[in-house]
């Protein structure tokens, strides 16, 4: 599938695109890995953009974090410490794991403006809802200090529409891929998914508006086998093309930076019910205690709907939230007749021979 040039451009230079929001009077706010409703940031007149870290050598971050820390956290920190993200008016860190929680303090200690959003991992949704209301109020005050404006109900209604359009466009793309996975390269598909997390929502939805109507599956159908991928993020994206080289088609995913993110409910108001629904609802996720026990069933259904014969766990090394679920999810999926494969990845991976060999062997087993 050929994506509009503006989408490919946004995926190739995300920070430059995010920085341009200043020209439109919107202060760029960097949102670190973990869920947070972008529409709430935008409702304060700011421009939220997702930061998943680059691929450059982590010189500064290596001096600040130990070797055993998750490479995604290190890459994000590198972009902060080397000044790449200095255009951001602030950093929003959802505390979805111990690493992100402490990273918020590391970034703050470097003199940047940071808000650590304390995501509740509680067994009690009503109490968590009240906490969310208070934490969002604190976040609003922080936004005012960072950008001069707080989110308002009226502005949120406007942003809800804009981000709903983004969600619709991305999920439409997922539906097309499920219908015709051979028409998408790994990199091409995730260019669009990442662009949706960087661009102005209106510009993204406009750019994608004609794509579905003009989509043609073409004659690419062949002997490939469908698989699904699960993990934190499709990084490094070019490596996903290795699947196609071995006759495997990515029919769907369960990436935190992918389907999981775009399956979350869009925040519709600042009321406690809507806040709880937006933050604690959505599809099962390793970082969320609510609905977590439904994860094996959800993944098995997702794979079935995608016609996938196997699931590849795309494990960012040292990501504890994902790794703790692996044995349990793996057993459940195998029990559902699905083949599984674990591929451990690093953000800065440059050589893929070992992982490629594992994928090749997996393809043969299918």
């Amino acid at each position: 599938m050929n994506l509009p040039k503006v989408i490919v451009d946004a995926a190739s230079r995300p920070y430059a695109v995010a920085a341009e929001s200043r020209k439109k009077g919107r202060a760029p706010i960097a949102v670190l890995p973990g869920y947070f409703p972008a529409e709430l940031v935008a409702a304060a007149g700011a421009h939220p953009f997702r930061v998943w870290g680059g691929r450059a050598a982590t010189v500064n971050a290596d001096a600040a974090l130990q070797a055993y820390i998750c490479s995604m956290a290190k890459s994000v920190l590198e972009d902060v410490l080397d000044g790449t993200l200095d255009f951001a008016a602030g950093f929003l860190v959802p505390s979805v794991c111990d690493t992100m929680q402490n990273l918020s303090d590391v970034i703050a200690a470097s003199g940047r403006k940071v808000f650590c959003f304390r995501f509740p991992r509680s067994s009690f949704p009503d109490e968590a809802g009240v906490w969310l209301r208070d934490e969002v109020a604190r976040f609003s005050r922080w936004m005012k200090s960072a950008t001069g404006r707080e989110p308002s109900g009226e502005a949120l209604a406007y942003e809800t529409d804009r981000y709903s359009a983004v969600k619709t466009a991305v999920l439409e793309l997922y539906a097309l891929r499920r219908e015709c996975p051979q028409a998408f390269t790994g990199r091409g598909f995730y260019d669009a998914v990442f662009a949706a997390q960087t661009m102005d929502p209106g510009a993204f939805a406009d750019a994608m508006s004609g794509c579905a109507a003009n989509f043609k599956c073409g004659d690419a159908a062949g002997a490939g086998r469908r698989v699904m991928v699960s993990g934190t993020a499709p990084i490094p994206p070019e490596f996903l093309d290795v699947f196609a080289e071995h006759g495997l088609w990515l029919a769907d995913d369960d990436f935190m930076a992918g389907r999981r993110l775009f399956s979350r409910p869009i925040l519709e108001s600042l009321g406690p019910k809507d806040l709880a629904q937006a933050f604690l609802g959505g599809v099962p996720c390793p970082s969320n205690t609510f609905g977590h026990d439904k994860r094996p069933g959800y993944l098995a259904d997702l794979a079935k709907e995608a016609g996938a014969a196997g699931v590849v766990f795309w494990q960012t090394k040292a990501c504890e939230n994902e790794a703790f679920d692996l044995p349990w999810i793996d057993a459940a999926l195998r029990g559902n007749g699905l083949k599984t494969l674990l591929v451990e990845t690093e953000q800065k991976m440059r050589t893929f021979e070992t992982a490629a060999a594992r994928i090749a062997a997996f393809a043969e087993s299918l």
């Binding site: 974090l65 130990q66 200690a109 067994s123 451990e344």
Partner: protein, 400 residues
């Protein structure tokens, strides 16, 4: 050589009795709860549960050098080596029913608080799925900007829900009077534990913080009962005798702080290594995390809030500026010359940011810090030669 305390024998008996009671709980008609070290155990003791601490068990497996085989079992079952070694150790122990007491008794309820880490939530989720038992997660928010009413209210609200769940699983009504008694015992035990730790302010210090890691077991596992109170009274008395009788033979030229959990499988060796070089660890951020409620309020609601505040305040749940204040205060209180920060690959909340904390601490106090790479229970992440060489070089600065 560090002095071998007689109380240590009593400690062994105490812990043996504790695990024996736990192993026989179901025969005695008692419910077992697996709890994290920072969970509000007072509610469980008030309901006559036997609380079991998987973290403590992993520490025992580490100290008894049984952890490598257990960790291997967990890794063979699919748990990656990057995960917390306490978790891997306990999961392995559960698979093969191994470790010092041949595995832990199955739980009726599983409880975790996030005040020590969020890893515990993931770990205990796995336990709950394997055991098919109810799991209660209590969010104790990280204190990004201090402890306010909102944080305390949230935790109190969850405590009330937890109390009801625990009572339902136990099948008995919750007795608030009994609960108040348990809180009083917990506070008294914590107070005495604080006294034990504070005795190392003296010079020479009669107790090393590395030894305190061993003596911490009663306040972790039996907090809320009479037992830690009795034990710490005995220990204090012995330490007083040592201190006042001038019976501390070791020269203590260098007094150090320790950050993070200990290296359980090298605890004795590390203690002796330092003692032979005239150094002693006088305080640690970990052992000081159980000094809880100072005064018991009169009203029940206020007790809930005081308990919530106590559980929100462990060192590891504080932001970096607060951590530096605590470290600096400890350095002053214990007349420390410097600090060893254990960069513990299994404990991310303790370890992430240590490089920055090191700089902030040194800037604040002028005292040097050594960062030591290791793991609390996985010996594969540790080298005696490398660690001891680094410590030796670190200590030399006080002899020039």
């Amino acid at each position: 050589m560090p002095v071998k305390l007689q109380a240590q024998d009593e400690l062994k008996s105490l812990m043996a009795a504790y695990y024996l009671e736990a192993k026989n709980a179901s025969y005695n008609g008692k419910k077992v709860a697996w709890v994290s070290s920072g969970a509000p155990v007072e509610f469980l003791y008030a309901l006559d549960y036997v609380p079991i601490y998987p973290e403590n068990y992993a520490a025992m497996c580490g100290a008894s050098k049984q952890s490598p085989a257990l960790i291997a079992e967990a890794e063979a079952a699919g748990y990656l080596p990057d995960l917390c070694s306490y978790a891997r150790c306990d999961i392995g122990a559960d698979i093969v029913q191994g470790g010092p007491v041949m595995g832990l008794p199955d739980p009726d309820l599983i409880v975790a608080g996030t005040n020590i880490c969020t890893t515990i939530i993931k770990w205990f989720q796995q336990v709950a799925y394997r055991k098919k038992k109810p799991f209660v997660a209590i969010e104790m928010p990280y204190l990004t900007t201090g402890l306010g009413k909102s944080e305390a209210d949230f935790v109190v609200a969850q405590f009330r829900r937890f109390r009801d769940v625990a009572a339902e699983v136990a099948g008995v009504p919750f007795d608030e009077d009994r609960f108040v008694e348990v809180v009083k015992l917990s506070a008294e035990g914590s107070r005495l534990w604080g006294e034990v730790l504070d005795i190392a302010r003296r010079s020479p210090a009669p107790l090393s913080a590395l030894d305190a890691f061993i003596h911490i077991a009663p306040i972790v596992t039996l907090r809320g009962t009479e037992k830690p109170i009795e034990y710490y009274k005995t220990l204090l008395s012995e330490l007083e005798t040592l201190s006042r009788g001038g019976l501390i033979a070791d020269a203590q030229h260098t007094r150090l702080l320790w950050d993070n959990l200990p290296i359980w499988f090298r605890l004795r060796r590390m203690s002796e290594f330092l003692a032979f070089r005239g150094a002693i660890v006088v305080a640690s951020t970990y052992t000081n995390s159980w000094a809880a409620i100072k005064e018991i309020p009169r009203k029940l609601d206020d007790i809930y809030e005081a308990l919530a505040r106590a559980y929100l305040e462990p060192y590891i749940n504080r932001n970096f500026p607060d951590r530096v204040k605590i470290l600096s205060q400890m350095a002053s209180d214990f007349s420390a010359h410097g600090m060893i920060m254990h960069s513990n690959r299994s404990c991310k909340p303790y370890s992430i940011g240590q490089y920055m904390l090191k700089g902030m601490f040194t800037k604040e106090t002028g005292k040097p810090v050594l960062i030591l790479d290791a793991d609390m229970t996985d010996p594969r992440a540790y080298s005696d030669e490398q660690a001891e060489g680094r410590i030796e070089a670190f200590l030399e600065q006080w002899f020039q």
